[in-house]
């Protein structure tokens, strides 16, 4: 298990535990806890980015994907933090037609990742995700298995 995968798994476990803690706290006290949204956001960001790292990591690491993954974590944590600090909604200070906090939600968290992640996936596909030689290794393993099965039947 590489150090990278260990870190990704740690992020998924801690993120899930964080969300579990918020849920548990909601059962214990009916009051709205000030810390709960922040912990929940950290949990979501850690799970999602942790899962992406876990899926993308191989013996070769994740290479240039570190940057887009870090971007998504910062966007989620920073975006939701900015929502809490955004100015109050009024018709004079709209951002692209929406009040600032709603604009951060819709355009920032809801759209910005589209400009980064799918392109990161496509541009690193050959080097990080699926090299032609990896596909050949899987096909060769399949062929070897079929040969062994056929030999077994003949015997």
């Amino acid at each position: 298990l590489t150090r990278l995968k260990r870190a990704a798994l740690g992020a998924v476990v801690l993120g899930t535990a964080a969300i579990g803690a918020v849920y548990l706290a909601a059962f214990v006290t009916p009051e709205r806890l000030a810390w709960a949204p922040a912990v929940f956001v950290l949990g979501i960001a850690s799970i999602m980015v942790g899962m992406m790292v876990l899926g993308a990591a191989s013996a070769r690491g994740i290479g240039r994907l570190a940057l887009p993954f870090a971007f998504v974590w910062v966007l989620l944590v920073g975006g939701f933090a900015a929502v809490f600090m955004a100015p109050a909604a009024d018709a004079e200070g709209l951002w692209l037609g929406l009040p600032p906090a709603a604009a951060i939600i819709v355009y920032g968290i809801g759209l910005l990742p589209v400009l980064v992640l799918p392109f990161a996936y496509a541009l690193t596909f050959d080097s990080t995700t699926l090299r032609p030689e990896d596909l050949e290794r899987v096909r060769a393993a399949r062929a070897a298995m079929e040969q062994r099965a056929a030999a077994g039947e003949d015997a």
């Binding site: 298990l1 535990a17 059962f27 709960a36 929940f40 799970i47 809801g110 399949r142 298995m145």
Partner: protein
Amino acid sequence: VIQAAPLPPLAQPVIIGVALVYFAGVAAIGFWAARRTRTARDFFVAGEGIGLWALALSAMAATVSGFAFIGGPGLVYSVGVGAMFLVLPAAITNSMGAWVLAKRMRLLAEARKLITVPDALGARYRSRAAQGLSAVAILIATAGYMATNILALGLVLDAIFGTGLTAGIWIGMAIVLAYSASGGILAGIYTDMLQGALMALASVLVFLFTLQSGGGMAGLSASVLAADPEWLGPWGKLAPIAALSLFFVFGVGSLGQPHVVHKFYMLKDPRRLRWYPLLMTLALILTLLLYFGVGFAVKALVARGELAALTRPDDATPTFLLHYTPILLAALVFSGVAAAIMSTVNSFMNIAAAAITHDLPVALGTRVGNELRWGRIATVAISLVAAVVAQMSGTLVALLGIFGWGLFASTLVPALAIGLNWEGATRAGAVASIATGLVLTLALETLAFLRLMTVPQGVTVAGLALVASTLVFFLVSWATRKTAGEIDEDIRLVMSV
């Protein structure tokens, strides 16, 4: 969360005409595909022969049910920006799914010729229990999804053709069944392409009309802010934790939706996955424009006094279309609603039939003789049961309907999405996690539905079950870590590349 109340009558010649043309197109594709379905692999995984566009559009069409066109805009109208948390993760989930699952699932098909999602669990953990339990979870969730979707299809057909609800349910079911039972997923994929394209086109056009009706985004915002500023707040009318719970369940839970994940097996060339996240994400976002646009526009128009306040939020889309768009576009959207429902139903029919004729027998240590024939028979049987349930009991449909997404998420995300990427996951961890998700979701959703238990504000049963099944997965895998190396060599290879 899908259409469960009647729509306003829509029986106008143009709407009926467009719907008939649409159904004729679906029938033609179904007939074409049925002639090419010769084996069980054709029936369940389209012979591993589809292209990238077919994969992306059919995955999108299966993801988006009629909810995105009717119930979704109604939810936006009711709770404002908070409703967006259900669809916001779409910007991330398709890329995340590509990294986490697409390559591994497609390579599993290459290595083992697998045809179902429980097959992948059985192969990963060398466990018939994991395969059988996940098949049971899929069957229960699918029953709920199918009953609610067929009820929704009946309501849409009743509104368009004035058939009455009962006839609408049976006619709708018969249409989907005709191409699903004869052409299997092959027919489903190619009808989904038509349906996905129709949904995206209709959504984009309606979005442009929503902007025109309200004077652009700024005009819509100004109207809403004057009447109800909380609606345009960052969480809308939801509590922050409730909105974030939606983001969590629909974001992370997307990794456990078998009707989408299963389609990765079908791609002809694994290297075409390169552009899958981009195509799928764009198609999904275009299709979801209507979800946001109509809810927002109707809220603004009501705030300005140009429309009367809606008595039922689900009337948002029909009301907007009939008042603010050309009748031809309205007709296209109503056909799009039927398309969205039919494409989802078809996918569920197929995975449920596979669970019955393939996964459960394998879990019990046996195989059915002719999987193609039995797959067709199972498809018919499941559809008949779902239609009877949809027609018989509103309460039962409502109860079944709430199991869907959360049950898939809690039973499949840990064992499948994490397990295919972590060699430390064990068979015991997977089985315990699937069982935890299954029992918790069924028990808590039923108790909450029967009002025997109250869930605190902001907490969702789906979220709770997903957290619990994930933590159980890690804990039991850690406790049984001595067995973690029990992975077949070819599966280990798929997990390592």
